[in-house]
Symmetry: C2
Subunit: 384 residues, 2 copies
């Protein structure tokens, strides 16, 4: 463990620091011990050196015993282990990271954790990572490439053993990721992915998601279905709009370009959505239904409509992606496309650990595609 400094009290001379290695561990953190006076000072954690000193052996012996090396006698091993337990020895992960250039931690980059979809994915990731001995470091890009680059830099400088990422909306140039990938950093992409990097990825069948959403509306009799989408750079955007267009075609409806609005920042700036909705609603022929192709767009859209006094589904129908656990508390008429976020997280970390722990170069990459669910709203929205 580290040594925290009590401001104003200095005990920096290593020769002066004392570690009372006789004291028994009183708690998980008792590797810091009190000095003879009652002032708190800078404490050193118990290190292998302390164990070595206490036992009169060398640090290498201690290290070997702790690592369960074969070249050690059972007796000394037992002795060391016992002593380590008594002193509540905890290996210093920072020293290990420096030495081994790995940290037993994996980095996760998402645009925002306040988004239910992403926090659920993170929960999926953590649920498996911890069991496998990895810690998870979360970084938010806030939909900014600049920030994404900083995050990646931070994570890689912290020697993360692998990376799980959903690209920011601004990210059209992925050279920063490509660089890390080229250097051999195991990467798994999810949600917003790119083909330019040859690695595992986890997505939902976005095409299917919007296809079914659109089909649902078409079958209900809606004739002028608009779509609000994210930045055109994002993989999810083209896929989701693809499903929308194909469904229209399949049902013999013409695709109307003015019925599609993009929000470059995916609704991080609320006015984007407002503008999009307003533009749609002020068309000569305003839509009778809207498909919102992301969580943030769905809620933003609903908010805007509500604020404008436009009733869903009476005045207009709305179907959208949504992963909030309180979705069911919202407008009961709302039909949502639900993504299996937890499973996506689990799949991502599993694939990543596979990459990390594989001894030989991986050449076959998997694009794991999970199936979204169309959850039909309670109130029917039938027109015509």
């Amino acid at each position: 463990m580290c040594g925290f400094r009590m401001p104003g009290i200095v005990a920096d001379n290593p020769g002066v620091i004392r570690k009372n290695i006789q004291l028994p561990a009183s708690s998980i953190f008792s590797s810091y011990l009190y000095l003879h006076n009652d002032a708190y000072m800078k404490f050193e954690a118990v290190t292998i050196k302390d164990i070595a000193k206490a036992l009169g052996v060398s640090t290498s012996t201690v290290s070997r015993a702790l690592r369960d090396s074969y070249e050690i006698s059972p007796e000394t091993k037992e002795l060391v282990l016992e002593c380590a337990r008594k002193l509540n020895y905890m290996p210093n992960p920072i020293a290990l990271s420096l030495k081994e250039r790995r940290s037993r931690s994996i980095g996760v980059v998402v645009c925002e954790i306040a988004n239910s979809f992403f926090s659920q994915v993170i929960n999926g990731i953590e649920s498996i990572a911890y069991d496998r001995g990895y810690n998870v470091i979360i970084a938010q890009s806030n939909e900014s490439v600049e920030r994404e680059i900083m995050d990646l830099h931070y994570l890689s400088s912290r020697s993360v053993d692998g990376l799980i990422i959903s690209l920011s909306t601004e990210t059209n140039d992925i050279s920063h990721l490509q660089d890390l990938h080229n250097k051999g950093l195991p990467i798994v992409m999810f949600d917003r992915v790119t083909d330019e990097i040859k690695t595992h990825s986890v997505v939902v069948d976005n095409f299917k998601g919007t296809y079914e959403a659109t089909e649902y509306l078409l079958q209900k009799g809606y004739k002028r279905i608009a779509a609000i989408a994210n930045s055109e750079f994002l993989s999810i955007t083209s896929e989701r709009l693809g499903g929308y267009k194909d469904a229209l075609q399949a049902y013999g409806q013409k695709f109307n370009k003015s019925y599609v609005k993009h929000c470059f920042y995916g609704g991080m700036v609320f006015s984007e959505i407002e503008d999009a909705v307003n533009k749609l609603m002020t068309l000569k022929q305003p839509p009778d239904a809207i498909i919102a192709t992301s969580d943030k767009l769905t809620t933003g859209c609903l908010k805007t409509l509500m604020r404008r006094g436009i009733k869903v589904p009476d005045d207009i129908a709305l179907v959208g992606f949504l992963n909030s656990d309180i979705a069911e508390l919202m407008n009961p008429a709302l039909t949502v496309v639900h993504q299996p976020a937890l499973e996506m997280g689990k799949a991502a970390i599993e694939l990543l650990l596979q990459l990390i722990e594989s001894k030989r170069p991986v050449t076959q990459f998997e694009k794991r595609v999970l199936t979204p669910t169309l959850v039909i709203g309670k109130s029917a929205m039938d027109v015509n």
Copy 2:
């Protein structure tokens, strides 16, 4: 930066690794360079050693130049800085952490990031931390002490410079925190705090929050107001129930113990809330209003009522804490107690940085109390 390993290709002999310090930086990550053949291998980041070698000076000189030490000639400093820039040198934070026992990062422990309140607090923390040169490491306790202890252990082993924490519901023994605090780790508590640790804290006026909520219902004419609360161990629980009780008293209503239900896990287990609501609704004299004293309890309560077909506010009134950004999309009759989460995060990190960066021991601790807002629902809920 660290060196990532390309599986199957080994270049572990330091003598064999080459760093072409002539190559110009091509991107932020180009501190890794390619070998003469096209295979990717284990790359070493540019270190001060490389700069020293390139310039024919010692590493200490380089270090001094980079640290902007006074004991260095302007010329060499310029030279070193230029070279560092050219080679795209990036200091290795792990080496620094090991040496300095600090990491320029701060740890944040919350029960769950999927909770809007906490992710907003985290956003507040990050917004300031990054500007001040600190990274934020997020850890979730999932309302488990065991996990909280693990998180603290992880964070302290990573040499975080400070800690911001909201206690888990299971945490009645805070010795694990106390230990870290005694060792001089700067700690700021928020939301769920404890007096046992003498340090800064940030909370909302919980008493006021429920007092006003209760008062609101009383003024509307409700006579049998129940409350659903978290574990009795939590600071927020007693404070929030305090406001509820006092408001009842102020309005001449008798406090009825059977109208108060506790959810030990604060609704992490949904059945807890269901049970609580069910028990309330099956009393001989069921309540005509419920106050839910946390975000999770509010949504859980609403869900349960909805599933049981109990209409809010027609059959029963509901007022609760809620910080979701989509609160307005829920039942418009809902009156909520809103906490200034972003501000709480900002206050917490500011107080923490104050602790971290203060040169002298801090003896005066501040309990910063922010004011919650009662946001009255759209539909009036008048009875009597």
